[in-house]
């Protein structure tokens, strides 16, 4: 009997992982050795495995190779995974923080003023459901720069959850707390800083966490379109190279980076959490 629930969960996770990897490995067709083939078969590509998803062993070998030298740069089409991730993170974070810089103040405004809420709500409702990639052609035409367009697409997709959650959090601050500010004659800025921001912070952080998740989903697609650099471009480029091992490897990397981003924001959310 294992002591803690966490330890038992970890064990079960590891067992599941081992079973899945084992099944995957077993399902992959074995490659014949080159020596067993005739010259004709080799010329005809008989040495290649049948078109199939590479086995985990191949993916691990690839991962080891890539991760042992993540920052090499051998020309435009051959960069290390670290560099590609770096480009993607740069675009995601710059678009994201640009969005935060606008969404949070505007969310405050909407949350504090019913007039502004009613006036801006139709715009938000129309703009919010638009797929961020639908903006891409317009962004490319107006901005005329594929890098900046990718950042714009991240900006436009991450602004809505932050805007709506900030407005919601600010509008929902308990009246008692606002009255505390009023009876202590706090000015508008001090009220926002001492009472409303801390009171709404957990809701705002939730919006920020949703946004960073969406931004990371969208960057892969955006980079497939704009090309050049980034993890999205890397996936598509390896598909064009028919290097499925790299494709599987990069899919895993996208998942891990996304998880790390989410964990970081979950940690920040815990810092501003309060108990009533």
């Amino acid at each position: 009997m294992l002591a803690s629930l966490n330890a038992r969960a970890l064990l079960l996770s590891l067992v599941l992982l081992a079973v899945l990897l084992g099944l995957w490995e077993a399902a992959s067709p074995k490659q014949q050795l080159a020596g067993e083939l005739t010259e004709y078969e080799l010329l005809m590509g008989g040495g290649e495995p049948k078109a199939a998803v590479p086995p985990p062993s191949a993916v691990f070998a690839k991962a080891w190779e890539e991760l042992s030298d993540p920052f090499y740069d051998a020309g435009p089409n051959d960069k290390g995974i670290g560099i590609q991730i770096g480009y993607s993170l740069y675009r995601v974070l710059s678009g994201y923080f640009l969005a935060a810089a606008i969404a949070i103040p505007v969310g405050f405004l909407i949350g504090m003023s019913p007039l502004m809420y009613k006036a801006l709500d139709p715009f938000i409702q129309v703009l919010r459901p638009i797929s961020p990639l639908a903006w891409m052609p317009l962004a490319l035409f107006v901005i005329q720069d594929s890098q900046a367009s990718a950042i714009f697409v991240i900006f436009i997709c991450s602004i809505w959850p932050m805007l709506i959650n900030t407005a919601f959090g600010v509008a929902g601050v308990r009246k008692d707390w606002v009255n505390v500010a009023r009876t202590h004659e706090l000015g508008a800025l001090k009220t926002a800083w001492i009472v409303i921001l801390p009171a709404a912070a957990p809701t705002i952080l939730t919006g920020m966490r949703i946004s960073i998740g969406i931004a990371w989903l969208v960057i892969v697609a955006a980079e497939m379109l704009v090309g050049g650099t980034g993890i999205g471009y890397y996936v598509w480029n390896e598909w064009n190279n028919l290097d499925l091992t790299s494709v599987v490897f990069s899919i895993l990397v996208i998942g891990v980076v996304g998880m790390l981003l989410d964990t970081a924001f979950a940690y920040c959310a815990r810092l501003v959490q309060y108990q009533e």
Binding site: N179, H184, A201, Y274
Partner: protein, 302 residues
């Protein structure tokens, strides 16, 4: 007649009713005065508008008619001159007990240094028995009684001209309530604080108040009587019950709440000047005739 420190004049509150119907009048023609340093309790059934009166005194609510004058100035909007303790404590849950007090002290004394603010805040927290580390806890880590102590410390620390208490002990158990009542009376005696307090607890009102205002039931509620509590201070819960006036006052209050608050309820035809009638108790029992609330009380003892 000189104007009292706080004067409430012809105060009414009406709520707009859904289309067509008459406006709902919670209370009307409420007149009362409070002298500096006086401790006044107000008692009445729920719905009679006690809390609305308190909120209007605080400047958090607006009267439909009438006005409040404090210290020669009309009350409009909330101010640091009027401190409030709410039943639900109203502490900011993300700040420690100490920070909940310091931000208020800082707001009151903008020119003070951090050290001055800290010392002043600690003085009041110690007065209510929060020291030695407890002041660094968040409200969620404190018991209900402790939270209300912080709230009281905050209200006294800003030294308002008028302290408003909205059923401050309503959510506390009887034992905790008793000990905080003692603390409240101790802190209050050491100050010249004017207090206006809402309570549902008759014994609490007699223990704390110089004067108890009795409200009739709403709608059209009004302050019908003003009962003088002349039991000498310092009062203690243990021996106040042996004072000869105690049960006379208590019976009077209970009887008012049980029957007369209903009997006197309803719209006053003559409107006009409805000053509460004054009721005093001396060694010989009740001096005014409580049945005839329109007749001003005559003191026989003096």
């Amino acid at each position: 007649m000189s104007t009292p420190f706080l004067s409430v004049q012809n105060l009414s509150k009406r709520f707009k009713a859904p289309k067509g119907e008459d406006a709902l009048t919670v209370f009307e023609n409420v007149n009362l005065g409070i002298e500096k340093g006086e401790f006044v309790c107000i008692i009445g059934h729920s719905g009679c508008g006690k809390s609305t009166i308190l909120n209007i005194l605080a400047g958090l609510d607006e009267p439909s008619e009438g006005g409040v004058i404090m210290n020669g100035k009309e009350v409009s909007g909330p101010s640091l001159d009027r401190g409030i303790v709410f039943q639900n404590y109203s502490l900011l849950p993300w700040l420690s007990a100490l920070k909940n007090v310091t931000f208020a002290v800082q707001a009151r004394h903008k020119s003070w240094s951090k050290k001055q603010v800290h010392e002043h805040s600690m003085k009041y927290l110690e007065m209510v028995g929060l020291a030695g580390g407890a002041e660094l806890r968040k409200p969620s880590q404190l018991s209900g009684g402790m939270r209300q102590r912080v709230s009281i410390a905050r209200a006294f620390a800003i030294q308002p001209e008028l302290l408003l208490l909205d059923e401050p002990f309503g959510a506390l158990d009887a034992l905790t309530r008793g000990s905080i009542q003692d603390e409240l009376i101790r802190i209050w005696s050491g100050s010249d604080q004017t207090v206006f307090m809402i309570t549902h607890d008759v014994d609490e009102a007699i223990l704390l108040a110089d004067r108890i205002l009795l409200m009739t039931n709403g709608p059209y509620a009004r302050v019908a009587e003003s009962v003088q509590v002349e039991i000498p201070r310092p009062r203690e819960r243990a021996n106040i019950i042996h004072h000869s006036d105690y049960y006379d006052i208590r019976n009077h209050l209970v009887e008012f709440l049980a029957t007369r608050s209903k009997a006197l309820a309803g719209k006053q035809e003559d409107g006009g000047t409805s000053e509460p009638s004054i009721v005093r108790f001396g060694a010989h029992g009740v001096l005014s005739d409580p049945k005839d609330d329109r007749k001003p009380a005559v003191s026989r003892a003096k």
